[in-house]
Amino acid sequence: MRRLTFALVILAAGLALAPFSARGASQRFYKDDPIAREPDTQDASKVAEWEINLSSDLLLNLFTNPGDLTPDVRAQNINTIDEVPDSSWFTNRIYVKPVSLEELKRGPNTMDGPAPGRWTVIRPKTAGAAPGFTVRDEKGEVWFLSFDGKRNPRAPTAAIAVACRIFWALGYYQVESYITSIDPKNLEVAESARIRTLSGRVRQMQMKDVRHVLNRSARSSDGSYRVLAARALPGRVIGGFRFYGTRPDDPNDVVPHEHRRELRALQVFGGWTNLTDMKAGNTLDSVITEGGRSFVRHYLQDVGSSFGTGALERKDPDDGYEHLYEGAPLVKRLFTMGFYIQPWQYMPYPKAPEVVRFEGDRFEPEEWKARVPAAAVKRARADDTFWAALRVMAFTDEMIRTVVHEGQFGDPNSEKVLADALIQRRDKIGQVYLTKVNPTHKFALAGDGALSFENAAVRAGFAKPPASGYKAAWFRFDNATGQATAIGETAAPNERIPGPSGLPTGDGTFVKISISGVDPSHSSWAQPVDVYFKRAGGDWTLVGLDRLPHMNPEPMSVKKR
């Protein structure tokens, strides 16, 4: 049975890899390649609400390996030029388009926050550790309020405000979040509000329940409470998404989530921001109806576990360094009486009471770990992390300091420490992930046949140009059969390589160019990046890019050993 299953998995993977860049008998490139948007073509209005059990999700991800077990699978929601098209999961922003400081400050927000005046409490908060409840403001807008823990003033709300802007700029759907304050005198409880007590009884919510929440919250000296107001999502909320598999009742959800690049990229983005609580419970799907068609939009809904504090107190020291359960460290600590010491056990943190355990000096991007491993993150390949690192590197120092300022820290040093750490961690991410693969990108083929590109690692200052320059192998490419016929090889010491003689000139013809860097100190640069151009109207258009081979045939279990 196991052999049969394994054979079927391999067969399916062989059939299925890279769905948005099909090969084989059908043509390699379609007329609309590379697509800029992953379409949702089917009506998803009947997708039912579900509740993912957090305990079983945690156990499953900690102790098993859910999702596709085929090793080294290329992301499957990328277009033919190795980019993630816009979709109901992701919107290209930073790196692809200019993001102004004003846009960054605004993030996902489209208004000014809750209307001032009386707020009516309509529901208790039933998930998450932070104290809170749901209110309706005077304009009828619904807001989920989240307070700072009594012993952790400003830090949790600041973390949410900063992180949601960062993740918005990175491309994720985010909840509109506003830092504001409330005077308890302006709160009233709706007659329809119901609360489930510890005893399991459901009764009308009362002011004493509101006071109970406020008693657990940090109070300002003027008697008000700082609060993070998250606007209710549009559409019909139907629960979260898992980091593996697909939703069986969503017809548009055809790419297993573990093979979605924007989810795999959370290894990089999560490491940058220390988003340690990466779980289905912090995501939300919502059925959106636009133009008469319904589709599911996927939100990375709660990124508040970013940086160095939790909802109520500072993060555990191993947050970001170890999963909640790992066999090997457990055994080592068990038998050495705890003398198996890791850096997180002694590393210093800057004094920053509203950031606490977050720093950049000792951050190692590839070693970063969420509390519970997410199936998609575990499958991140070097091309996924390269893609993500380009986006992280697109944040300038000024952008980082601007977005951190939106946390409205009370302690100026905390704001500085957080920004400094993000800058340091950004650079480490670039250093690690931009140099790990052949980092050439931004390819253009001029009419005269000269190929220009950039080396992202060199441009960022993390590497010197390859000692012996770049070389390019040129091919005619038959889009119908996938056959490549050699034209010649050229080389250059810089990022502009002349074309060979004999380049095709006819409209509709394709060329394939394999570009590699020649430098013994960067062995990964010798792995060529294959780019494909199509000739039309006298110009060459980039239609394809393969940074890494499609799959490693070695089964994951063998690879691990």
Binding site: S56, R201, G338
Partner: protein, 397 residues
């Protein structure tokens, strides 16, 4: 496995179905994706949770969302009762009040049945009343003082009917103010088990109060400071408290008072890589002339005091206990290890609570815990009388 598709073959087939190029050739990428989505739309499925997920969900619903109902009860009916099985039924009322009834039966034929109710007092404490009956047919008695021999063990049977009420207040997070009063009716009878019954070896001189089955009104009050995260599991903080007891014999023969002092301190090292934990406890009878019945004398020996010694191994009018642990944390989520050392002494006079003639032990333990609760403690302890294995469902201190 929480998979929407239960067999690997089905999952594989769906994977291939979803991802491979459609049979009918498309002329655009969008059409290709649309074809895959259309294909999936033909076979949409309602999500069916796996069996494991259903079990966990049901458990959470029963235990957390609707907490009323039966529950396991593993506390020993009386110290020294051995492995115990029990069950209870809890019914919540109001917002967070409950009453329960529970029973337990141990391998040594110890029995307990108890009913109680507990009511929160705002957010700063709770109050409760409790009533019950226990039967411990082979409670050990080795005589008075530290020089008794293991071979001097005798058994007695203790039956107790009790009703009590208490108030536990936390006016501030660290402040402990507890008070309680209980009616305790004891019946002391011939012991069961392999050891001789107490009357065969001891007399009212060597076992004070022997032959009397008193009925007490027991009142007590505690003041203290507690800045541990939780009494049931903590890696930092401390507890410093004193409790004053008075047992008023309804026949005014065996009335006595006792002062208990407890100090617990946890010292985390290197971000909880290690924790040094210390516990000191003194139990001291106040009136020199008061007669304390042998079964209510301060005692040492048990899985939470001198762990290498059997329950009730040492008894006298005063006791002093010191415990130190070197703890390390193989897994921060739920597993601690500990090397421990216990030392203690009982004495007939308070001034004799010194370091002469103390009994000590050492050992190694493993504890499995939740963030604020220890649910299993297994320890091996070695003392002058040999090894002892401890199984407990609570923290040692």
């Amino acid at each position: 496995m929480i998979q929407p598709h239960r067999s690997p073959i089905a999952a594989t087939a769906l994977l291939a179905l979803c991802l491979s190029p459609p049979a009918a050739a498309q002329d655009s990428r969008e059409a290709e994706i649309a074809a895959k989505q259309a294909e999936k739309a033909k076979s949409l499925q309602v999500y069916v949770p796996s069996k494991a997920e259903r079990i966990i969900t049901n458990f959470e619903r029963e235990a957390i969302i609707s907490p009323s109902g039966p529950f396991p009860f593993l506390d020993s009916p009386y110290r020294g009762g051995g492995f115990t099985l029990g069950a209870g039924y809890r019914q919540f009322y109001g917002d967070a009040s409950f009453w329960d009834i529970k029973g337990a039966y141990s391998i040594k034929n110890y029995k307990l049945i108890e009913t109680s109710t507990r009511v929160p007092l705002g957010t700063h404490g709770h109050a409760g009343v409790r009533g019950g009956w226990r039967d411990a047919p082979q409670v050990a008695y080795y005589g008075l003082g530290m020089d008794t021999l293991p071979e001097a063990r005798a058994n007695f049977r203790l039956k107790q009917t009790f009703f009590d009420g208490y108030v536990a207040l936390r006016p501030q997070r660290w402040i402990v103010l507890d008070a309680g009063a209980s009616y305790e009716d004891y019946k002391i009878e011939e012991g069961r088990g392999s050891a001789p019954t107490i009357e065969d070896i001891y007399n009212p001189i060597t076992a004070p109060g022997l032959g009397i089955s008193p009925t007490y009104l027991h009142t007590q009050g505690t003041v203290g400071i507690d800045w541990r995260r939780s009494p049931a599991y903590s890696r930092s903080g401390g507890f410093y408290g004193v409790t004053l007891h008075n047992w008023a014999d309804q026949d005014d023969v065996l009335t006595f008072s006792r002062l208990d002092a407890d100090v617990v301190q946890h010292v985390p090292i290197l971000r909880d890589t290690w924790v040094l934990s210390f516990h000191a406890r003194m139990e001291s009878t106040i009136g020199d002339d008061d007669v304390v019945p042998f079964f209510l004398l301060p005692a040492l020996g048990s899985g939470s005091t001198l762990r290498a010694y059997p329950s009730w191994r040492f008894r006298d009018r005063h006791s002093l206990l010191g415990q130190a642990e070197f703890r390390w944390i193989p897994n921060r989520l739920g597993m601690d290890m500990a090397l421990f050392y216990d030392a203690g002494k009982v004495a007939s006079r308070r001034e004799d609570l010194d370091f002469d003639n103390i009994k000590s032990d050492w050992g190694l333990g493993v504890r499995f815990h939740l963030p604020m609760y220890t649910f299993l403690r297994i320890e091996a302890a070695k003392g002058s009388e040999g090894w002892n294995l401890v199984f407990s469902s609570s923290a040692v201190f």
